[in-house]
Amino acid sequence: MTCTEFLALLDDLIDDSVTPETRAELQQHLRGCDHCEVTLSTTRKTIEIYRSHEIYDLPADLRERLHAAIMARCKKGC
């Protein structure tokens, strides 16, 4: 397996949607290729960081204000 072939399957590997046979091939490539190993681990980390950090927080007071506005209009039948 080449690095290009590995990269084409990177998402499937990350999303855990590869067959056991393909997974074995990918893992075999990883054992001999530092570049792909780094690409895989840092891409995983990228996703994890975005998933676990709230970068656009909805402050409680704003949330209450928007919520009240929405419900007031819904109760009027919009």
Binding site: D11, I14, D34, H35, R51, M71, C78
Partner: protein, 208 residues
């Protein structure tokens, strides 16, 4: 896979189905529950797309009001959340277009870019690299980095990886084919990785 999911869905209805039914029967407090359940996500998605706080506030209100008005049109064959996200994405894109008159804002057009398609920065990252930054500083890095992505990549990444929609749901929400979602997701992930590398790579001479 969609078939399997919908069969499973019939066996065990999503808790939102009952709430939607109550709203349809005139119980406004059930809608209150739905708003509280999803308001953060909708606000976040709107901010990611519009990149503007006021627009995101407007989108959040408009999306929930529109969903309420159109609830009769909601078919139980998709999740309420996915349906709501679709409304919010459309509202967000409308606002984005308004602000950028003359500038093309399209999510269905494929973006010609090679950036990130071949990883260049192959330095390994420090272990738990986010711990080298304060909370506010880190949030700023993450915002700046994702804002640099083309809108069509950014939205796919946000829906798939941040909000946890499936590939099929993302495709349905954005009106894209599944291969288009997959190709954008890969490029979005790789571009973000490449850009974050600047901040997170292991410093030369740093201890392992």
């Amino acid at each position: 896979m969609a078939t399997i999911q919908s069969i499973a869905g019939e066996l065990e209805p999503h808790p939102d189905v009952a709430l939607v039914e109550r709203v349809r029967g005139g119980d406004v407090s059930a809608y209150d529950e739905l708003v509280r359940k999803y308001d953060r996500q909708i606000f976040r998605i709107a901010q990611h797309i519009t990149q503007n706080r006021e627009d995101a506030e407007d989108v959040m209100q408009d999306a929930f009001l529109k969903a309420y008005e159109k609830l009769d049109q909601f078919q139980g064959n998709s999740k309420f959340y996915t349906w709501l996200v679709r409304i919010a994405v459309n509202e967000s894109l409308m606002r984005l277009r308004k602000r950028r008159t003359g500038k093309m804002v399209s999510i269905d057009e494929d973006i010609e870019t090679e950036e990130g398609s071949v990883p260049r920065d192959l330095a390994d990252w420090a272990p738990d690299p986010e711990q080298n930054y304060g909370q506010a500083e880190l949030a700023e890095i993450l915002r700046k980095t994702i804002q640099g992505l083309p809108p069509g990549f950014r939205i796919v990444f946000v829906l798939r990886d941040v909000e946890g929609l499936s590939t099929e749901e993302t495709a349905e929400t954005l009106g894209l084919s599944i291969p288009a979602v997959k190709s954008r997701l890969l490029r979005a992930r790789l571009q973000l990785r490449e850009r974050l590398s600047r901040y997170f790579r292991r410093k030369k001479g740093a201890k392992k």
